[in-house]
Amino acid sequence: MKRTLGIGLAVVLLVGVVTAIVLGQGGDTAQLQTVRGVIGSEKLAFFADQRVKDVFAKHGLEVEVDPAGSRQIATTADLDSYDFAFPSSAPAAEKIQRDRKAARTYAPFSSPMVIATFDPIVDLLTKAGVVKSGPGYPTFDVQAYLGLVAQGTRWDQLPGNTSYPARKNLLVTTTDPRDSNSAAMYLAITSFVANGGVVTSADGEARVLPAVSRLFLDQGYTQSSTEGPFEDYLSAGMGKTPLVLAYEAQFVDRVVRGDSSIRPDMKLLYPAPTVLSKHTLVPLRAAGDRVGELLTSDAELGRLAATFGFRTADPRHFDDVVKDLAVPRTIVDVVEPPAHETLERMLEAIAKQY
């Protein structure tokens, strides 16, 4: 997720695989084919999981991955030594596919962007017209939110606010747009709303930039990895991060783990509209294609991915995992992110204003 997390320095998740094969599965190491991939760091825990490694071993594969920021994978990383690239967003994958002339891509799992918050904030923002009951799940009205931000609204200026009278601007906490995929996804959402549709032209970019820039700039310092603000949300709570942008998978993963880090007053809101962070695998060589195919078709891998909070190509896996949770099966108001180049240009224009 951090652009600066050098690929060359990245962890090689090899030891575990070898050990497991030697100890367990009865497989023959000599028959395992090593496949190397560069992946968005949100999927690191998935690929590091022993059960996942075991499934790949059953199919004769040993998958080695290096984590990197999705934007970095698309722009600066040297992909020659990899069999596949697996960024966390469709625009990044689209660029890699074009650059490397890949025949196809796989989108085995996805996760919508969400806003994690707390009960008192839900109440406040419901009164302010930002949180709505939505189609079976609570939504965060991005248009109404942009309206409040445009007026520079502070929390303590919300009428009847006694539960969170903070003298700071009402802003969703995000990561640094210069570093992080989730911030780019947030820009995809907010630019869509500010523009009244996907931004596709230079005019559109110029029109939305003032409104979307301040969503980032007014926060001041932001962290570079999506884990940072989400951990603050969990540990420092409402005072520090009343509203935090996250991947749905981060929240669901915590709930599934059952480690009681998600307390009863913590609530998930779905931006309306939202975008999906589509984890899209671009095969660079035949072996990488095999990994894409397995991730898409193997039921066990699908089931495992769902336990990490990802929505899977076969929705049953995810539905099974969340069946007792307050997580919607289907998200209705989903829009497409802009093209990679458009998104990059807008991110750079924002970066220049820091």
Binding site: A166, L217, Q219, Y221, D232
Partner: protein, 533 residues
């Protein structure tokens, strides 16, 4: 604090294998499996017992080398840190992440614990101010400070994170717009900030020394004027032997979150060590222990907050988003906002200073005129409005050279100081105490004309006193001084063959502190002293 620091320092020496003079590039040795070499903020010293248990549990030993936040940022940005360290551990990564050259060298962070920077005052003072029955914001605190209803001590924002956080916090809160600071917003609230800082009567380069000085003054062991309260970490205030009531500003605080951060250059061994140690430190039992023994808040959400943390949900104030905004704020603090300084340098230019030593002294002074272009160096230069007096001496005191650095165009005066410094020459004897005594004549005049300043004396000498007045004579002279002069801290610098015991005595009688330049450059010592002026 002293009690806590000493065993930690001893443990460090022990862990480091007691090498006599560590290589400055690798002060904690070469990479070793099972060892994490960490460049850290000095306040982490109190974690030593926790880390010793961690070493037993995980097999990962931490070796610390301590530095200030901005100096640390310098070292990470220049690449110097990665030559000798695997990880950095400061109270916050915020400043580091704003420096692009440093940011790109930072890898995975693990936030281990947290502590907000708040105001601690005696209970009766809080009551007197009427703050015991309601929560107040920074604007009310600043107004009360401006009306001199209370006084406080705070660390130097360029040397220590607690002062830095307080400065950012109060500026962000007062700016009122609730969004992150930029230069225009800082200027708009400058008058209020000035009011707030007018009540700051004590400065220090480290949180630890600040707390000690505060306590010594409260007990009357130190001639400096008593200070009502402290701005410091909640954890430090909660462990104060004199109970303080903590004032949590209602509009928000800036919180230290202590991220143990791997450098991207770390080897896979170090990477593994970092992971093991992080997992251990974030486990619930260890988190509970950190909370109980160090009074910091846990970072693991499952651990219940202890009742001693009076306010649980703290609003976090926005932090500036660019290095230029932060640097601008610090510069404005020094040149415009805080009470200006008056610094007297009593400088040994005797014959024994000839050669490298006088060169070192010239460089040290020149560095403070803006020649030192490192991040830390920029903030430690003589500040706008500062009165600087150089008093060279040998067999007797030479004429005092007085300067006042203008707020708006400091360059010409800084250049004059630089010229004077470069022309210092060494010859003659070492009449330390008569010269030091003479310094008080200069200060008396200056104080009579303009009393409201941070006033201090730096005493630099490289050898034994050869003058007719000795330390006992000086002590008698010092005891008889009126309070405003007696309370001026003296910061002796140990150099060459300095008489250590005498220098300690001089520091103690004046409520000052000894700085050692025997194992490092005079420039480094002079720079460190800036935090106390």
């Amino acid at each position: 604090m002293i009690r806590r620091l000493l065993p930690a320092a001893a443990a460090l020496a022990l862990l480091a294998g007691c090498s006599d003079s560590p290589d400055p590039a690798t002060p904690v040795g070469d990479p070793t499996p099972g060892t994490l070499r960490v460049l850290a903020g000095s306040e982490l010293a109190d974690l030593q017992p926790i880390l010793e248990e961690a070493a037993e549990a995980t097999g990962v030993t931490v070796k610390f080398s301590f530095t200030g936040t901005i100096e640390g940022a310098d070292k990470v940005a220049s690449g110097e840190a990665e030559k000798g360290f695997d990880a950095v551990w400061f109270s916050s990564n915020r400043y580091l992440e704003l420096v692009p050259e440093a940011q790109k060298r930072l890898g995975t962070p693990t936030k281990v614990m947290s502590s907000p920077v708040v105001l601690g005052l005696p209970a009766e003072k809080v009551k007197e101010l009427g703050w015991d029955t309601k929560r107040v914001g920074w604007a009310e605190i600043a107004a009360a400070a401006g009306a001199q209803k209370f006084t406080y001590g705070m660390t130097d924002p360029s040397a220590s994170n607690s002062g830095f956080s307080a400065l950012v916090g109060v500026a962000a809160a007062l700016s009122g717009e609730g969004s992150a600071l930029d230069a225009a917003r800082i200027n708009a609230v400058a008058p209020q900030l000035k009011q707030f800082f007018s009540a700051q009567k004590l400065s220090a380069g480290s949180s630890g020394w600040l707390t000690e000085a505060f306590q010594r003054r409260a007990r009357g062991e130190d001639p400096g004027a008593e200070v009502d309260g402290l701005i410091n970490y909640e954890s430090v205030l909660l462990s104060s032997p004199q109970p303080l009531t903590l004032v949590y500003p209602s509009d928000g605080v800036v919180t230290a979150d202590y991220p143990l951060t791997l450098l991207t250059s770390a080897t896979s061994d170090a990477r593994e060590a970092h992971q093991k140690l992080s997992d251990h430190l974030k486990s619930q039992d260890v988190q509970r222990k950190i909370m109980e023994t160090t009074h910091r808040r846990p970072a693991t959400p499952q651990v219940q907050l202890d009742a001693k943390f009076a306010v649980r949900d703290l609003v976090e104030l926005p932090f500036p988003g660019s290095q230029s905004a932060v640097d601008g704020l610090i510069t404005t603090y020094f040149d415009q906002l805080r009470r200006p300084s008056r610094t007297l340098y009593v400088l040994d230019t005797s014959g024994s200073m000839q050669g490298d030593r006088i060169d070192g002294l010239r460089q040290a002074l020149t560095g403070l005129t803006g020649a030192d272009e490192s991040l830390a160096g920029r903030f430690s230069r003589f500040h706008g409005r500062e009165q600087v007096t150089l008093l060279p001496f040998s067999s007797s005191a030479k004429p005092a050279l007085k300067y006042e650095v203008p707020q708006d165009d400091p360059r010409p005066v800084l250049d004059q100081i630089r010229t004077t410094a470069t022309n210092l020459d060494a010859s003659g004897g070492t009449a330390i105490y008569s010269s030091l005594r003479g310094g008080y004549d200069v200060l008396r005049q200056q104080i009579d004309a303009d009393p409201d300043r941070f006033t201090s004396i730096v005493l630099m000498t490289d050898g034994e006193n050869t003058g007719s007045e000795d330390v006992l004579d000086f002590q008698l002279f010092h005891q008889a001084l009126p309070q405003d002069l007696r309370g001026i801290p003296i910061f002796p610098v140990l150099f060459g063959e300095s008489a250590t015991a005498e220098m300690e005595q001089v520091a103690k009688m004046s409520g000052g502190k000894v700085f050692d330049a025997r194992s490092r450059s005079l420039s480094a010592a002079f720079k460190e002293i800036r935090g106390y002026q």
